[in-house]
């Protein structure tokens, strides 16, 4: 018997897909076992984010099978794992492209053109934010502040960084990624030490930029 019209049940909660059977590779299992030892023995749940990163790294995104495996490892319920997965933005429950382009859209990046960068990336790939291109190479996502506002606009590509990307550089940037992969990324400019030295080195005393812009 129906106790309410169908439209009443307007919840859009969709379960992630089941996926193929999942278990950690021996290498990931060893990594997990080492990580979980950092926490008190009765607090295995602290390792849940780490376990989810391992699972995501292993198959690209998180399926129900993977979440059950994580639950088994942690010693909690699958619902508790899904609770965590659905909260944090860095976990994917659908397949994503080989390169996930996370464009920062928050104020400091937006002030110097991040909205235009997103537009240019979307136009070049023929997709909107949140979508993956037909070849499965790129997923475009708008994210909130990445914490590198001095090098805006910033794009996080998987775990790597591209800084100061202008809309005009977008097609060149995509080509470089296709050809050279993550090696094409600028990385964090602080790591390019030779460049970080140079002009800033001469400044002394008051007004010395600790780490200034170019």
């Amino acid at each position: 018997m129906e106790y309410a019209p169908a439209a009443f049940h307007a919840s859009t909660r969709a379960l992630p897909e089941e996926g193929s059977p999942f278990a950690f590779t021996p290498e990931n299992q060893a990594k997990f076992d080492a990580n979980v030892a950092r926490y008190p023995p009765e607090q295995r749940k602290s390792a849940i984010l780490y376990a989810l990163y391992l699972a995501q790294g292993q198959q690209g995104y998180l399926t129900r099978a993977a979440m059950r495996h994580v639950a088994l490892q942690i010693g909690c319920t699958a619902a508790e794992v899904e609770d965590v997965v659905s909260y944090y933005t860095m976990f994917f429950t659908k397949p994503v492209g080989r390169y996930v382009l996370n464009v920062c859209r928050t104020l400091s990046c937006a002030l110097v053109g991040a909205e235009r960068v997103t537009e240019a990336l979307g136009d070049a790939l023929g997709i909107k934010p949140g979508e993956t291109d037909p070849t499965g190479t790129f997923t475009l996502i708008e994210v909130e502040c990445l914490g590198a506002c001095d090098r805006a606009p910033v794009v996080m590509v998987n775990d790597g960084w591209q800084e100061r990307l202008s809309p005009e550089q977008v097609s060149q940037f995509l080509e470089a990624l296709r050809a050279r992969g993550e090696a094409a990324l600028s990385g964090c400019h602080l790591r390019r030490e030779k460049q970080a030295v140079g002009s800033r080195q001469s400044a002394v005393g008051s007004g010395q930029p600790a780490v200034g812009g170019d």
């Binding site: 950092r38 996370n102 502040c145 001095d150 996080m156 964090c188």
Partner: protein
């Protein structure tokens, strides 16, 4: 007197993140060596005397926080380092961890000794993976050199430092939400009291300190409280990192004393405005604080002076905006952030931030009605003070501050049915729509 950096010394030099560099050029681990000859309580007293205030945003006295950590209990104590740097406009901890990680590691060890903890967790935001790799590699070297681990420097003191990676949640920067996330749950704040000092991580006494705060600790132990207080105005002592971004010529992290005025930070340190356009407004302490106007720039950038000027120093993230910035767009941009990051635990914040965004998007798109302005005000005031953590107040702030200082821009949007200040750096197509 010229200010000599102490936190960011040599950060532009090659290999400044290494242990060798830290020990040979920065008197590395001398603070820890000295601390281990003192009684834990003496260190707390020294940090109290220095007046060190938390660098994460609230500016709470660190020594006091440590004193509150329950000592008389059989439970273990914990130190959590808040490296979830997510406040828009803030990127100082990023530099410290990447270019001077041993200062943080030493600070963690001293703080653990002072509060009686044996384990410190550095909760780093998931997006800082490249920073985490450096930090973890350097922690390993600190273990190998005997600055961490068992019987540190022969003192009998044991201390472990672990890095814990977050997974993308602004709210994890709130101290009890950070603890929840560390325990493997959603990053949602707890009801306080009890405060973490009494019942924090795993229901044990816990101190939660920001990266920059802990980086000051070895310097205080090494140079003394008097040295520290002399660096800045009264009750605002010590070195401070300022993050300057937006429409300035040289955005970056700058270390200065809190005597420095906002104008000096913008003009001298960050090189002034791009294309020498006029400055319209600044956000002095990360996106959660009220705006300051050009005539307030001679305010010293200290916790107390900025507060007196009607804003907050917060995390010292200065976002500088020129005359091309539409203030309705600004509020909309930040509310997009807050509605996305609201953890959803408290209804006023979860629902309110979403409705504020929708209202702002409607006004910015030129479809706003006169009554929307009162509605914005009403919704904002129904969030402020009605949530478990400071997020709610922070989410309402961009609306309240722009409405107070630039109400005429809101009115012009409604009157003319369009954005009255569209800038070339903004999207060419409308970016706003309903919820997504």
């Amino acid at each position: 007197m010229a200010y000599e950096p102490v936190l960011t010394t040599f950060v532009t030099e090659p290999n400044s993140h290494t242990l060798d560099f830290y020990v040979s050029r920065r008197r590395g681990y001398e603070g820890l060596r000295k601390a281990l000859t003192l009684k834990p309580n003496d260190i707390i007293e020294q940090v109290k005397a220095s007046g060190l205030r938390g660098r994460g945003g609230a500016g709470f006295p660190t020594g006091l926080k440590w004193q509150f950590v329950l000592k008389d209990t059989p439970k273990p104590k914990y130190l959590c380092c808040n490296a979830d740097e997510s406040e828009p406009g803030t990127f100082k901890d990023h530099v410290l961890m990447e270019r001077n990680p041993h200062l943080l590691i030493e600070g963690c060890a001293i703080a653990c000794y002072a509060i009686g903890a044996k384990v410190a967790y550095i909760y780093i935001r998931g997006e800082f993976y490249h920073v985490q790799q450096i930090l973890e590699a350097e922690i390993e070297k600190a273990y190998a050199a005997g600055y961490l681990g068992r019987n540190i420097l022969g003192s009998g003191f044991d201390c472990d430092v672990y890095v814990h990676r977050g997974a993308g949640a602004y709210e994890a920067g709130e101290e009890t939400a950070l603890i929840e996330s560390l325990e493997g749950k959603r990053a949602q704040p707890r009801i306080k009291p009890p405060f973490p000092a009494v019942s924090g991580l795993y229901q044990c006494p816990t101190a939660v300190n920001n990266v920059e705060t802990l980086c000051n600790v070895p310097l205080i132990v090494l140079h003394g409280a008097d040295w520290f207080t002399a660096l800045g105005p009264e009750k605002n002592g010590g070195p401070k990192l300022f993050c300057i971004s937006g429409h300035v010529k040289r955005p970056g992290v700058y270390e200065a004393s809190m005597h420095t005025t906002l104008r000096e930070l913008i003009d001298d340190h960050a090189g002034g405005m791009i294309d020498d356009r006029p400055l319209k407004a600044i956000i002095p302490g990360g996106s959660s604080v009220p705006l300051l106007l050009p005539d307030q720039l001679d305010t010293p950038a200290s916790f107390d002076h900025v507060q007196k000027a009607g804003s907050l120093l917060g995390s010292a993230g200065l976002i500088v905006m020129n005359d091309t910035v539409c203030m309705v767009w600004l509020a909309m941009n930040l509310l997009h952030f807050y509605r996305h990051e609201s953890c959803g635990k408290c209804t006023p914040c979860r629902e309110g931030s979403d409705w504020l965004y929708r209202l702002l998007a409607r006004i910015e798109a030129g479809e706003g009605q006169p009554k929307d302005l009162d509605l914005l005000f009403g919704v904002s005031n129904n969030i402020v003070g009605k949530t478990l953590c400071a997020f709610g107040d922070a989410a309402a702030t961009p609306v309240l501050t722009t409405m107070k200082l630039f109400r005429h821009e809101y009115e012009a949007h409604v009157r003319e049915g369009r954005c009255t200040l569209p800038a070339g750096w903004r999207a060419s197509r409308p970016v706003f729509a309903g919820a997504h």
